[in-house]
């Protein structure tokens, strides 16, 4: 596919990009304030709700939405559906940026962020029972793996450089990057399987503090399901977004064939969830738990509506319905994760929490930064497929054959 991937090119600082930068700067200001004044002064987090939206949204939802690379890699490399290959690079870029932003959020959320280097470097202190340790190590490793998976793209970007030493570097490393790919892909499949499921296990320890509709031994499986749902949904979102933003042809027909996978995962998730609740004897909570019943059904309805849309034959031809289905499934899965981490979590002892304005601004700033960087990367590197090459930016002939990502 690389034969047809090209940098989009064009101006970086469009008005929209400037608006994103304004949000990013606002978020950065909040980050600076947090670094100088501390968490208590900046956020509404408290001893009852030690994890706010920076974890529940930026990390739990953010990395879920960054599972596009994972979900797609599963379809392309394990189920061997090569036709989706053209979606791989943009999906990996969203994954990389999503995980990087989650990492940034974590660094600002950690009380003692300067000690974080000890985690990867002190294996002697690792607590083998700690789910969070596994999540942390896996996420660090996965971010590196995604970066390396994109190695060919970076190198191709370099090889187009006018400076000969950069082009030489690229020529030397491209074949090696290609060879390593199956192993990187396998790692890129294993690590999210581990940490996305463990994100769910993380909240299992909350025990009685998590509402029983969410607290189940199936949490790891549920989080794996939602990772796939959000990952697929992001593929739609991002494909449509780049199509509209860069005036590229939409990939409606290609995406249409992906619909059955998304719908399948959603239905599997809903079924497993209901069966799990029934086995655990919690079916009665589905009604009569007030807000929590409502939230549960909202998640379920959003997801099922998305599944229904994905399965409708008309949707296969209509980008608007595809986008709607993607957004509905994203919303449903994201709500499930936010509920698990925050809304359905009640520590008791009279505690309450709602994110304050700085927390919201910081999260918006991260999203804006991520979007800006995405646009920057696809403009500068050969990520997106199927664009007529910009004049004068042709890839050197020698690189065309080797590049097969």
């Amino acid at each position: 596919m690389t034969a047809s991937t090209r940098p989009v090119g064009g101006t970086i600082l469009t008005p929209a990009a400037k608006a994103l930068l304004v949000l990013a700067v606002l978020g950065g200001a909040v980050g600076l304030y947090r670094l100088t004044q501390g968490l208590g002064a900046t956020t509404a987090m408290n001893d009852g709700y030690p994890w706010g939206i920076w974890i529940a949204f930026d990390v739990a939802v953010g990395t879920g939405l960054a599972s596009g690379g994972y979900a797609l890699a599963f379809v392309v490399f394990i189920l061997n559906r090569g036709r989706y290959h053209r979606l791989v690079r943009p999906a990996l870029v969203t994954s990389l940026l999503g995980y990087a932003m989650a990492g940034v959020a974590v660094m600002f959320d950690l009380g003692r962020y300067w000690s974080v280097w000890r985690i990867p470097t002190h294996p002697g202190s690792w607590n083998g029972n700690s789910v969070l340790l596994e999540v942390a190590l896996c996420m660090m490793a996965y971010t590196a793996v995604v970066f390396l998976e994109l190695g060919p793209a970076w190198l191709e970007g370099l090889s187009a450089s006018r400076r000969p030493e950069r082009a030489q570097l690229a020529a030397r490393w491209l074949p090696r990057a290609e060879k390593a790919l199956p192993f990187l892909v396998a790692l890129g499949l294993l690590l999210p399987t581990m940490h996305q499921s463990s994100l769910g296990s993380l909240m299992m320890m909350a025990g009685h503090k998590l509402h029983p509709l969410w607290h189940t031994a199936l949490l790891p499986l549920h989080f794996l399901f939602t990772a796939f749902v959000m990952g697929f949904a992001v593929l739609y979102f991002e494909s449509t977004f780049t199509g509209a933003a860069f005036k590229r042809p939409l990939e409606t027909r290609l995406l249409a064939r992906l619909g059955k996978y998304v719908a399948g995962v959603i239905i599997a998730f809903v079924v497993v969830r209901f069966v799990g609740l029934a086995v655990e004897g919690k079916a009665g909570l589905l009604v009569g738990s007030g807000l929590f019943s409502f939230l549960f059904w909202t998640e379920t309805v959003l997801l099922l509506a998305a599944a229904a849309l994905f399965l409708r034959p008309q949707t296969h031809l209509r980008p608007d319905q595809q986008l709607q289905a993607a957004l509905l499934s994203m919303a449903g899965a994201a709500l499930y994760r936010v509920d698990t981490f925050l809304v359905a979590y009640n520590p008791g002892n009279g505690w309450s929490y709602f994110p304050n304005v700085p927390e919201i601004l910081f999260t918006l700033g991260l999203i804006a930064t991520e979007t800006f960087l995405y646009v920057l990367v696809v403009r500068k590197f050969p990520i997106l497929a199927g664009v007529t090459p910009a004049p004068g930016r042709a890839v050197p002939a020698g690189l065309k054959q080797g590049a097969t990502t």
């Binding site: 449509t240 031809l317 002892n349 309450s352 304005v357």
Partner: protein
């Protein structure tokens, strides 16, 4: 004593005398046997010679000393100590009087106790206070040099007091600042409680030691605790019952004066435990006025009398949190912002999908 400069002596029986000593010892927290020991020492003629110097002050400390009853002033200055030089109490005057200072210093060199009342001006070479034609700082330095112990009585002598209040026109300082390097016992107060002086002097006279001092030179027996800790109105504080204004029902019922500016929580002194001149309640809080913090450097004459201040060592109120007290803050603005963000995202998603809507036939054509 050759230089008996004070008024007529009254002879005391030994029995009465021991009683007086015991009362004085008890007042400052010494055991009863200390009083007997004092009496013994005095009977042996070992009364401590005391030189009392006045500088920038109001003589309030002397006045309050004169109003002590047990021992009364007569017993005190004739029987317990030998007050050899005191400007206010001296019968003599002029050159004759000043000569007693020199002779006392000579006869008791290295043995006398120096008590200083009032602050010492240092500005402009110390010209703002002359006594007997000599600058305050000069007499002080000269007399202190041969003193066995130096006691600063009152807030002025302890750290400058009223004369040192801003803008401190004379550059007034306390004795310890004027006599650098010399240990000085500070007995701040406006006025100082005379029993704190008696106790210090008698301990020195009897045992040759000075009481344990805090970091500001104040004897711990009198200044270790803040007024707040032993305040008779403390129960009202603990229960949150505060006089809100002078004369309001709370004030009339003797409620806590903290909100009227009471400095009790910062002020180290034993006013509530040791009555001034044996008069119960004869101190500011006892009379319904907040403590002004006269024994605390930086409070009295520096902080407005009725200004409310923080509490150094907060204690628990007579109220308990519930098992599940409401905790955590939620801002309505944040709820609004969050609603806007979620709403905007949902709206933008819907609007974007509407924009993409094309008649079914054309959708396929758009693809590459």
């Amino acid at each position: 004593m050759p230089h008996t400069v004070v008024a007529e002596a009254t002879a005391l029986s030994r029995r009465d005398f021991v009683k007086v000593c015991t009362a004085a010892a008890a007042a400052v927290g010494l055991p009863a046997w200390a009083g007997e020991k004092m009496a013994e020492q005095v009977a042996k003629g070992k009364k401590p010679s005391v030189i009392w110097l006045h500088y920038q002050e109001c003589t309030g400390c002397t006045e309050s000393l004169l109003r002590a009853n047990a021992p009364g002033v007569g017993e005190l200055i004739l029987d317990l100590i030998s007050l050899d030089y005191h400007e206010t109490l001296a019968a003599a005057a002029g050159y004759q009087f000043e000569a007693t200072l020199e002779s006392t210093m000579k006869e008791n060199a290295g043995k006398y106790v120096l008590v200083v009342e009032g602050s010492i001006p240092l500005k402009d070479g110390g010209v703002y206070c002359y006594v007997g034609g000599e600058k305050a700082i000069d007499t002080l330095t000269r007399v202190a040099e041969k003193a066995a112990a130096v006691i600063a009585i009152g807030s002025c002598a302890s750290w400058g007091g009223i004369p040192s209040a801003s803008p401190n026109p004379t550059g007034a300082v306390g004795v310890s600042q004027a006599l650098k390097g010399k240990p000085v016992v500070a007995l701040p107060g406006c006025p100082a409680n005379p029993y704190n002086l008696l106790g210090t002097v008698l301990q020195f006279a009897t045992f040759g030691t000075l009481p344990a001092l805090d970091d500001k030179g104040r004897p711990l027996f009198a200044y270790a605790r803040v007024i707040h800790e032993d305040c008779p109105r403390r129960a009202h504080f603990d229960n949150g019952r505060f006089a809100q204004a002078f004369g309001d029902p709370g004030h009339r019922q003797g409620w806590c004066l903290y909100k009227l500016g009471c400095k009790g929580p910062q002020t180290h002194a034993n006013c509530s435990l040791l009555n001034f001149c044996e008069l119960p309640g004869a101190w500011p809080i006892g009379l319904g006025h907040p403590c002004i913090g006269c024994t605390e450097q930086g409070i009295a004459f520096n902080v407005p009398i009725h200004q409310n201040m923080p509490i150094d060592k907060p204690t628990a109120p007579m109220a308990y949190p519930g098992v599940n007290p409401p905790q955590g803050h939620q801002s309505l603005i944040a709820v609004g912002v969050a609603g806007l963000v979620v709403g905007a995202a949902a709206g933008a998603g819907y609007a974007a999908s509407r924009k993409l809507a094309v008649p079914p036939g054309q959708g396929t054509k758009k693809e590459d």
